[in-house]
Amino acid sequence: MTQAPLEYYLMLGALLFAIGVAGVIIRRDVIVILMSIELMLNAVNLTFIAFARFLGSLQGQVIVFFVMTVAAAEAVVGLAIIISVFRHRESLDPRDMQLLKG
């Protein structure tokens, strides 16, 4: 089985990242925005792993390990904040979370 070249993996990573950015801009639901951020992190992970394979170095894979750790922490704290905000505002719409707006 021949392996796809590095460019293809990087293009796929860039495309998934761009779709995640579109999700953050377009959607009005905090949970979906969080999911789009997870998608962006995963696109970056794919890039790291592709480089790790094509440079023959394991350091890229270890960095992905750390990105997963940070993503898990981010998801946990983010969802806790969402629950906490939902209790006060009864809404998941970022337009309702503007207490700091001048």
């Binding site: 089985m1 950015v21 995963n42 922490a73």
Partner: protein, 160 residues
Amino acid sequence: MIVFFILAIASIVFSVLIVAQRNVVHCAMALAATLFILAVLFLTLDAPMLGILQIIVYAGAIMILILFVIMLLNPAAIEARPAAWWTIGSIAAAALFFQFAALLLRVPLPSAGPAVPDSFGGPESIAQTLFTDFTLPFEVASVLLLVAIIGAVVLAQRQR
């Protein structure tokens, strides 16, 4: 090569579904599918350990967490943004992608990967790198996880 194209098209379709679907639960399901496909892509890149971790941590733990929060809050569907936002978001994302693509096409990249031993990306080799070159980040990550646990408990508990 064919495997890569099938997986790439499937992952693109599912990630577009994350953005495009109205129902939050359907978005979460599309995200789970995307994460599974990315795990398979990791396997094609000789990263078996991370592929399995991806399924356990992302498709398992994080997706369950997100689904539980959706169930718990039972949010009413928020009305979609007006079409202008869809245009702006799509154009911004397309511009970003073309910037990335232009950059990728300009930089010389290694054409074929070097031959790697069978143990490449297995638990043993990952642990070897993790505990020799990355000992300090490993310890910092453990502290980060502890802080995240305490922070989540404090944030999500009911105020008295």
